[in-house]
Symmetry: C2
Amino acid sequence: MQKPSIPKGTRDFSPEEMVKREYIFETIKSVFKKYGYLPIETPAMENLSTLLGKYGDEGDKLLFKILNSGDYLSNTDLTKINSTSPAAFSMQISEKGLRYDLTVPFARYVVQNRNDITFPFKRFQIQPVWRADRPQKGRYREFFQCDADVIGSNSLLNELELLQIIDEVFTKLGISATIKLNNRKILTGIAETIGQADRITDITVAIDKLEKTSFDTVIDELKERGLTSESIGKLVPFLQMKGTNPELIGQLKIALANSSIGLKGLEEIETIFKLTREVQVGINIDLDLTLARGLNYYTGAIIEVKANDIQIGSICGGGRYDDLTGIFGLPGISGVGISFGADRIFDVLNQLNLYPPTVNSSTKVLFLNFGEKEQIFCLKALLKMRKAGVSAELYPDPVKIKKQMDYANSRNIPFVIFAGTEEINSGIITLKNMTTGIQESGTIDTILKKVN
Amino acid sequence: MQKPSIPKGTRDFSPEEMVKREYIFETIKSVFKKYGYLPIETPAMENLSTLLGKYGDEGDKLLFKILNSGDYLSNTDLTKINSTSPAAFSMQISEKGLRYDLTVPFARYVVQNRNDITFPFKRFQIQPVWRADRPQKGRYREFFQCDADVIGSNSLLNELELLQIIDEVFTKLGISATIKLNNRKILTGIAETIGQADRITDITVAIDKLEKTSFDTVIDELKERGLTSESIGKLVPFLQMKGTNPELIGQLKIALANSSIGLKGLEEIETIFKLTREVQVGINIDLDLTLARGLNYYTGAIIEVKANDIQIGSICGGGRYDDLTGIFGLPGISGVGISFGADRIFDVLNQLNLYPPTVNSSTKVLFLNFGEKEQIFCLKALLKMRKAGVSAELYPDPVKIKKQMDYANSRNIPFVIFAGTEEINSGIITLKNMTTGIQESGTIDTILKKVN
């Protein structure tokens, strides 16, 4: 019989992996809570009408669609099937899809529950999402997002708060990281200034590649995208700007002097930098004009976080959007949010081995099983252990001690207790420290103190 | 524009619901851990080959199937579609399905990872499952299971441990409950004794209804199912047995005297009762011959838990299975497990209002926002609060104080801090207890002590 398997791009998590992942989720969650964010969860399945058209054509293709249950073909005109596109046919046999991210379900949630929500609404959400991407190293078809958003407030204090949260999360996890910060309004200002206000997408797509490719390639791409030589000539100084954050802001103030939206973006970013200094945000924050992620809906701040000590994609990202809920009929509510990529953070911690020693999955104490008569004694001792909050277990079968010790070793159980007939009669049991090999004897109460 | 909605049978969880659910999950998880169970998680999607045929014909129909991505119709012979059954056509366009329970994925996990697992393997798993059932009150299409299983040990100490876990979980949650206990071997013994060894399914399906329907209806059903009058006559005394656990066991020992498997079942159940007395399991445990759940794979103990103070289906169930992994090519590994129904437990706690007062979702302290100048003071005070572990926030916009107080009230935030120009200049800020209405003044450090 063939060994069973799981769908490509998905993963099982073993106990060892689970405790590490829980450590990550708990760290993020505890910071979210400390800043007053509230948890919500949404269903894995959403109506396709909620999901389609929200992630671009490419995103629509990557949605996992769920076959209607029951006699789902009865409403389908099968005579036309050969002239129907797969996408159109899908719509006839499927009306639900798996969550693709946490942002669109959140927007849907806010609109659906608008009358019960007090704004500003600070919510966090930690759940898996699914994408039918081609699986590759570090990219999965089921992966976890950890989102925090504030919706219903324009204040830049929200941006500050999210930067503080990023700082605190990565400090707690021991990951050295850098925040890249940009502002959509600055990008709009640049497009205006070079006389190409309507070409902002072309411009940012090209700029975005500056990090990965050469300056000349970017220029070529801009030409291919149909930008005039004149506007490319005006863009070049922006691409070549270098310096500290204040230096960059200084240069941009001059270069964007004629764009009111550009200046507004600069003012916002200056305020954010000022606030982060006031509250001593420790993480390095760089103004980065090449940052344009999620351009489709970001309208203000754009945030991305990179780990310093390891080559890996962004480990957190986000930004401000002014009309996320508009797509569901509730326009004009501004929000700002971030999303931690739990799977990449997991990879970073694994590769740099940054887990504290307390992150382990083991039971603390194993009672060896010497037989039926000894069991009752051990069961009663276990009651005491567990009452004191010590995780403890009795090996369930009276098999050879060697096998039981092997179990303790492979489970990384730090303490083993010997309570055979002799020990039980004398009331003095033996505790073995599996790390040091040292054995100690005592009553159950003394032993309990040693392991607690 | 139409208000967006979610698929029928699914739910959003609001912050208030989330904290209550987390309380349930954390309670169950902490008990699992104390008894040495290790967490695993499996993907939401499994290959249909893993899922199909494991839950009976009805179960197969209730699986949510996922449409293959990409050009999924290319491998489909569309000319034959009209002569193809929906089920057969589904198999051509879908090869993955959503998890239907946690038991089959666990069996698949064990077989797939058999070389890395140390047996006995004690695992717990808390994840949602999906069933295309007709939604109705208390029955959802997405719901959560909390499973604990021991696999690779025949010892009845495992059954004991699971009963202890049930006792401890419901004691911690404050739910008064009763465990019903039966043994598949006793049911087999009864079938043998009445001369209908091969009709155990018919017999148990009928017996199972004794609780909900009249004695005569059950007898009619047995006749309909083709049992002879003679065997029904022999079965009647079993259906009419009454008494305490020891009385029932006494009667059964006589009635099953000629069935070795029946006697074995009685011996097992006697041992379990004896062990529960030794370790003083507090919850009431009743031997219940009508209990036959999950008959298809249970081979020993059968467990079900009912809440005493409320009419609702079982809130936990489980049993011993001797060959769960056999379906995936690893025969002969015995296991025993239980599953807590988190959604029903949620309903019980809600209806009986059993949440401790500490279960709430609020931030502890809200700083009112008086304007830009005051913000910096508050931001720095917030640093101190959060450093001390107090969840605290600053209202992000300097809007009317009335609106900010409304926010605090609707969020159930217990403390509000006034730090306007006057307070900041004097260094003495004001704390308002939103429950009592009492106001106190002091430095940030004195105030911090009051809220911590």
